[in-house]
């Protein structure tokens, strides 16, 4: 079914005619999908580039079936979106809504903004149906990020559980291979080998000096590696508490035990960073859904120092 390309009102430009105040912060930006790769049964990695704002030929937004039309638009070569590892974008599709997704790519990635999306609901399943050349709507970046530069001269321990490896990848790729950092270690745990993400990249990171330990929850056929939750591997870390920064990202249940172990090893709460997932709906510190006690996770988080969480019992 061919459609004559319609002239689309330019997005993100001048405000609507009778507006007396600021522009709507809910207006999304169109991003072009320059790459869409299957990682696992449930996860896909998307690379996005921003459009120039010119009227392009439109690829039809997928409704229930995958669109196969070619894009006809050259991506913005070398576009950099101004984000930090740890931050998130509100990503959406018309009709399906928006949800927060952590950036998966490092600072200044040549591939553009990468997002790893797990298909768990209506929006994420619809996003999975968007092919290379299709469009996603994004707003952002929002929230606090990791300050990789402040970790220079220190050992960094990355502890990732499940899909926590996605924002962790952004930070790891920002740090690994760059000079000025101490010992780098990663503990990564998932439910099963089928849920493992980025194993190929992990090999490269190991070659660049990252000590990586991977574990799965329960024994699985064909898996000869570690079995057990991430805390079972923490003894291998040999933490020097004075010069270590620890970063923890994972499912809610993981934090308590990992933190207990890190504190036992002598670490201070100021040196432990966590990223806390909440259901952001506006990203602007207004809708209230991401509140952790008195703070909005989309404004004061999702990256927090553990020492900042002392007054926030709902955090962990």
């Amino acid at each position: 079914m061919t459609k004559t390309p319609q002239t689309v009102p330019a997005t993100n430009t001048a405000p609507a005619p009778q507006q007396t105040g600021p522009a709507s912060p809910y207006l999304p930006t169109e991003a072009l999908v320059t790459r869409a790769a299957k990682l696992t049964e449930k996860e896909r990695l998307f690379a996005l580039a921003l459009l120039n704002g010119q009227n392009p030929n439109h690829t039809q937004y997928p409704v229930a079936v995958e669109s196969t039309r070619p894009s006809g638009i050259a991506p913005n070569a070398g576009s950099t979106l101004n984000y930090l590892p740890g931050q998130f974008y509100m990503v959406g599709l018309p009709g399906y809504g928006e949800a927060p997704f952590s950036v998966a790519s490092p600072l200044g990635a040549s591939e553009g903004l990468e997002l790893c999306i797990r298909a768990v609901g209506n929006l994420t399943n619809a996003i999975h149906r968007v092919p290379k050349g299709g469009r996603l709507w994004i707003r952002g970046p929002f929230g606090t990020g990791f300050d990789a530069a402040s970790m220079k001269g220190r050992d960094v321990v990355f502890i990732a559980g499940g899909i926590g490896i996605v924002p962790m990848r952004s930070l790891i790729k920002t740090i690994v291979g760059n000079p000025g950092y101490g010992r780098l270690s990663l503990i990564y745990g998932t439910k099963s080998p089928d849920d493992l993400l980025f194993s190929g990249e992990m090999t490269e990171w190991s070659k660049a000096g990252l000590r990586a330990f991977v574990t799965i929850d329960k024994p699985a056929k064909g898996w000869s590696g570690n079995v057990g939750v991430v805390t079972t591997l923490m003894a291998k870390l040999d933490i020097d508490p004075v010069r270590t920064t620890a970063v923890i990202i994972g499912p809610p249940v993981m934090y308590k035990f990992v933190i207990m172990n890190l504190r036992k090893a002598g670490m201070r709460d100021e040196d432990i960073l966590v990223s806390l997932e909440r259901r952001m709906k506006c990203g602007l510190g207004k809708c209230g859904h991401c509140q952790i006690n008195g703070v909005y996770a989309c404004q004061c988080g999702p990256v927090f120092k553990l020492s900042d969480l002392h007054g926030l019992p709902e955090a962990l």
Partner: protein, 231 residues
């Protein structure tokens, strides 16, 4: 209610084929993906038909209070079967096969149900939003908060202030509190929310003058099957 979606039916028919709709068309065939099933089950033959529908359809949606939660028909369950049969069909009816009847149950007592559209009747807009979601490849979102929310958003004065009683605080919203908006009270036709505070509401109803029996009557109108199952 489905046929009342006059404005949207042309659009819907552009996207789907309705192949079997007793109340609306004579033609029928048995090859379908989505089945909307209305009505509760009270006879073995109905259960049999229901299981056949489940085998054919990829998606089964319970349409309305009776199929979702048992609905008003569950009032029957308060009485012994023989008494009912004789009361309705005459003496000795319980011995005749023609008057055979079972405990009333919602359809999910027999088959797995994918989605529910609650209400007696269903809200038009909920039927449309569920169908639209299915056509978009999405899981329909069903409201899970009390009718009080819908009432406040409609700007209604609470009927308790007017000395009436209402099941709104434990009933599933999604109906825009239409009954209260038009001068009535909530009878609980959309069934209970997932986690209703029945204890608190029993006390509230008593505080507003209902006897313990009347409280049970209120809950039994639409929610009898649900409450029995929660126990």
């Amino acid at each position: 209610m489905v046929l009342s979606c006059e404005n949207e039916l042309p659009e819907i028919l552009r996207q789907v084929d309705i192949v079997n709709f007793r109340e609306a068309m004579t033609e029928r065939h048995e090859d379908y993906e989505i089945a909307f099933v209305e009505g509760s089950i009270s006879r073995k033959e109905e259960a049999h038909k229901l299981r056949k529908i489940r085998k054919k359809a990829r998606v089964v949606v319970a349409l309305g209070a009776c199929s979702s939660t048992g609905g008003l028909n569950c009032l029957k369950n308060r009485f012994p079967m023989r008494y009912l049969q004789e009361e309705v069909y005459g003496r000795g009816a319980h011995k005749k096969k023609a008057f055979d009847t079972d405990t009333v149950r919602p359809i999910d007592a027999f088959i797995h149900v994918d989605y529910y559209i609650h209400g007696c009747p269903i809200p038009k807009k909920e039927f449309l939003s569920v169908l639209t979601a299915l056509l978009m490849g999405s899981v329909p979102k069903i409201t899970n908060h009390p009718v009080c929310v819908d009432c406040k958003l409609a700007g209604n004065i609470c009927v308790f202030e007017k000395g009436k009683t209402c099941l709104g605080p434990v009933t599933r919203a999604g109906c825009d509190a239409i009954c209260v908006t038009y001068g009535g009270v909530c009878w609980g036709c959309r069934g209970l929310v997932d986690d209703p505070n029945i204890g608190a509401h029993t006390e509230t109803l008593k505080r507003y003058g209902l006897t313990a029996d009347s409280v049970m009557d209120s809950f039994n109108l639409y929610d009898r099957c649900a409450i029995k199952r929660k126990r």
